[in-house]
Amino acid sequence: MLKEEVMPKKIVIKIRARDGAYDFTTPVDFGLAHCYCCVMPGDAPRIKVRTTGAKPMREVLDSLEHMYDDLYGGE
């Protein structure tokens, strides 16, 4: 895990998607951002960060799937 002091306040996140890539610049304020992102402080090599964000991400996915079924499941 990267230590807090070396985590930049702003990161660029690139996420592969079916039809291209989503680019976000967002504060690091959520576990998912910690667990799957490319941190590029200056010209430093890309570092894939993997921390305990996997669990909250699975929980978010679970929640979204339930909400989707709730919203559209009967249609």
Binding site: A54, R58, L71
Partner: protein
């Protein structure tokens, strides 16, 4: 998780409009017109989408607003429009009061998402001002619990929001599944890539 045919109207027609490759085609202007035509109000004035988090939808200068996924952005940075949609949905089931809505969301997401009062009560007030919901005190003398009921205008708005957000929610789930799969592989490999 297939889309209903009717749900393709908003995004399908937007996709169709992208076939225009003439140099005069102004994508930002086209998106603004498309959005306004469907939702009845410009994106920068829409009650759900006008915030800074929806900048790709509200700015006319960004290239591909259709690619922007507010739910993924929400998951990554909090906030977003899913709460508005889901609260309307819960009120479509039956009249509810604020605390009931918060508890219900927490139960249905199995504790995964518990909106706070600071988000829910202003949202309900905003919905009432827009006449999407009608609020009445359970006991007008005590004024402790305000019961909200969805109006016809609120039901129409719910259907519009569902149509706009459905493919984005589907996309968000697929992307999260992919990320989840990637992370599982990472666990096998260990350490940083």
């Amino acid at each position: 998780m297939g889309s209903k045919e009717g749900d393709k109207r908003f995004w399908q027609s937007w996709g169709d409009s992208q076939a225009d490759e003439s140099p005069e085609f102004d994508r930002g202007q086209a998106w603004h017109k498309h959005f306004t035509s469907f939702l009845g109000v410009a994106p920068e004035e829409h009650w759900v989408f006008k915030g800074r988090r929806f900048k790709p939808w509200t700015s006319r200068n960004l290239g591909a607003p259709g690619l922007f996924n507010p739910i993924i952005a929400m998951v990554l940075s909090r906030g977003g429009g899913l709460l508005s949609l889901y609260v309307l949905h819960l009120l479509a089931e039956k009249p509810r009061f604020g605390n009931d809505i918060m508890k219900e969301i927490e139960v249905r997401t199995r504790g995964g998402w518990g909106p706070n009062p600071g988000a829910v009560y202003p949202l309900l007030t905003s919905m009432e001002e827009r006449e999407f919901v009608e609020g009445k005190w359970e006991d007008p003398d005590k004024r402790t619990r305000r019961i909200y009921r969805l109006t016809t205008a609120g039901k129409d708005e719910l259907e519009r929001l569902k149509e706009v957000m459905r493919p984005k929610l589907e996309d968000a789930i697929q992307i999260l599944r992919q990320l989840n799969s990637d992370l599982d592989l990472d666990v096998e490999g260990g350490g940083y890539a």
